[in-house]
């Protein structure tokens, strides 16, 4: 099943009189269960494409479809609904809410989705076990290491059983062992749950985990290739 489809998507940023063409007509299709890396140099449009697919931003032209639904021209609240129902995010910085514990951070999307207390408790417990942090449930982000925080962010992204998880440079702020741990968790969850991962990176240690690599340059896809070998760190 096609989880993501972009058709001739462009995104132009205007700052004063200056226009920047971040995307110049991107056509991309992602199937369910894929573990795809979006690579390219800085300024190639990786983050912009993730933001458009993640309904965090709207394209200047073209069409974006997520999970079979055209999300191109949805209003603010409709986009929030799509994010809450279908998309999980893992950001480059450890995007946890500092006043909430690991448990509460993971629970937040479930609350927003209106899940019952017992459903939430069960799901958060399961996710904490999946990311090997059941004993850190009541720790605040500042009491966790960078790698642990990013694993909590992965668990939060996965909480609602999304069709798609978008990760923007998920290991950029992590050292090699922690980066490997996070990628291992993501790979394992992709295999075990079948959730689709699309992550932007330019870290070669991360790219080797991908089964498909899409290369962007100057706002255009210049290469799209399947990688046959299994993930190295898995």
């Amino acid at each position: 099943m096609e989880v993501v489809k972009t058709e001739n998507v462009t995104r132009i940023y205007r700052v004063g009189d200056v226009e920047t063409n971040a995307l110049r007509g991107v056509n991309l299709s992602i199937q369910s269960g894929e573990f795809t890396a979006l690579i390219g140099p800085s300024g190639s449009g990786k983050t912009t494409l993730l933001q458009l697919i993640g309904c965090l931003d709207m394209p200047t032209s073209g069409r974006v479809t997520v999970n079979g639904k055209d999300v191109t021209n949805l209003n603010r609240n409709q986009r929030a609904d799509i994010r809450a129902e279908s998309i999980g995010f893992v950001f480059q910085f450890f995007a946890l809410i500092p006043t909430l514990t690991a448990y509460e951070n993971i629970e937040m999307p479930l609350l927003l989705a209106g899940k019952s207390s017992s459903e939430r408790a069960e799901r958060v417990k399961q996710l904490l076990e999946w990311i090997d942090l059941p004993d850190r449930a009541n720790y605040r982000p500042d009491q966790l290491s960078g790698g642990q925080q990013q694993r909590v962010a992965v668990a939060r992204a996965l909480a609602i059983n999304p069709a798609l998880i978008l990760a923007d440079e998920p290991t950029a702020n992590l050292d090699t062992p922690n980066g490997r741990q996070v990628m291992d968790v993501m790979t394992r969850l992709n295999k075990e749950t079948g959730v689709t991962f699309l992550f932007a990176t330019h870290d070669p240690r991360v790219i080797q985990y991908a089964r498909r690599v899409v290369t962007l340059q100057d706002g255009l896809i210049i290469k799209d290739e399947l990688v046959e070998k299994s993930a190295v760190g898995a």
Partner: protein, 406 residues
């Protein structure tokens, strides 16, 4: 909702000092408002009480043609057989005291100094005279059969440098339009703690006042105190006749009531100014909070939190600040009002004959004022969150996260 409340509470605890001072600002604002409201209420209430006790009573029964502004002692303007009329009125169940009084204009002179005064002819044994009797400073109180003694107020005594035992010349209007004068001895000096009243009032026994004004067995009014002021209209209706007019304390103290109305009007303006300043502090705190938490707001939005919930978060934070502020305000304001109501503010000779204000104002906080101001402070605090809340809710997740150095 519980999660939002938890988040809001923890967010405020992140910067405890700022939250504390924001709450305190609201608290101080509320405390100030409570004190101001209590002071105005106390001033008006005190002035009304003073007027009722000393001057107007709850009711005055007068001859139909009597004009209180003229202090007329013409027969046709006076009540005949006042003791009999007063006794009849006193027999009514709601009436506490009814006593005849004669008001006359006069001039008091001591060697080369003279001053205009109002003679108050009284039944010295009436319980209505308690404020004067209790307020005796020097000398002795009057007896009804005293034919040459008077009492004067402290302010008047100070003004003319008089003391008990001094002799003064008193000139009074008479019922036939002439004037009469006689030498009197100051038996004593009293204070009602109302300088404006004490400055122009000379007390003498009713019989003597009738003699000097040639108004035998007549009085200007029957001064009536009721057991309960709520009964004023009932008693007024019961006493109203063809020959007599019955005037209530509300009518006699119209200036005071108008002043109260005016005071309440400008107090609302002052309330709004104080609350606007307080609101500015809260707006500033919450805007700072939005700026500091821009990235977090972006994250919450990215994981699907809708604008209304983001706004709610700020309204809840503002509510916490308001609750803290109101709590502080009620405690600080309560202490200030307590002192202001027991110790009072000394204002000296500030009143006028048309509005008897004591030399000390005692604050009086009504439950209604306390509730109204508390609700007003809460609403203002919530409204103060509106702009920061809208600001936060309008943040685009991408922009918000970029603002947070994504």
């Amino acid at each position: 909702m519980m999660q939002l409340i938890k988040m809001a509470f923890r967010d405020l605890l992140r910067n405890k000092r700022r939250s504390f001072f924001s709450s305190l600002a609201l608290g101080m604002g509320l405390a100030l408002l409570l004190l101001m409201a209590a002071t105005v209420s106390g001033e008006i209430r005190g002035a009304m009480d003073t007027s009722i006790r000393l001057d107007s009573g709850h009711l005055q029964v007068r001859a139909k043609t009597y004009d209180a502004n003229k202090n007329s002692v013409a027969y046709e303007d006076l009540i005949a057989n006042p003791n009999e009329v007063a006794a009849k009125i006193a027999s009514l169940e709601p009436v506490s005291v009814a006593t005849p009084r004669l008001f006359a204009s006069g001039i008091l002179s001591d060697r080369d100094e003279t001053t205009g005064i109002r003679i108050l002819g009284i039944d010295t044994s009436s319980p209505a005279m308690a404020p004067f009797k209790d307020g005796m400073l020097t000398g002795k109180y009057l007896e009804n059969d005293d034919r040459s003694g008077i009492l004067i107020g402290e302010t008047l005594a100070n003004k003319l440098s008089l003391k008990a035992g001094d002799a003064v010349n008193l000139l009074a209007n008479t019922s036939n339009g002439d004037v009469d004068q006689q030498l009197f001895t100051i038996r004593g000096i009293f204070t009602t703690h109302t300088p404006a009243f004490d400055e122009y009032t000379v007390l003498m026994p009713l019989a003597k006042a009738q003699a000097i004004t040639k108004t035998e067995d007549h009085a200007s009014a029957i001064f009536v105190l009721l057991k309960n002021s709520d009964q004023v209209d009932n008693v007024k209706n019961a006493l109203q006749t063809e020959q007599l007019q019955v005037v209530t304390y509300l009518k006699m103290n119209e200036v005071l009531l108008q002043t109260e109305e005016f005071s309440r009007g400008y107090m609302v303006l002052i309330y709004l100014i104080v609350l606007a300043i307080t609101a500015a502090v809260i707006v500033n705190t919450l805007i700072m909070s939005v700026f500091e938490r821009t990235r977090e707001i972006g994250i919450l939005s990215a994981i699907g939190m809708k604008s209304t919930r983001i706004m709610s978060l700020f309204f809840i934070e503002s509510s916490f600040l308001a609750i803290g502020g109101i709590f502080a305000g009620l405690i600080i304001g309560g202490i200030m009002v307590y002192f202001a109501s027991t110790v009072g503010f000394y204002i000296g000779n500030y009143g006028a004959t048309s509005m008897l204000i004591g030399e000390r104002i005692y604050a009086y906080l009504t439950l209604k004022d306390a509730i109204d101001l508390t609700i007003m402070a809460f609403i203002v605090a919530i409204l103060a969150a509106l702009y920061p809340a809208i600001m936060a809710a309008r943040l685009e997740p991408v922009e918000a996260m970029r603002g947070g150095k994504i």
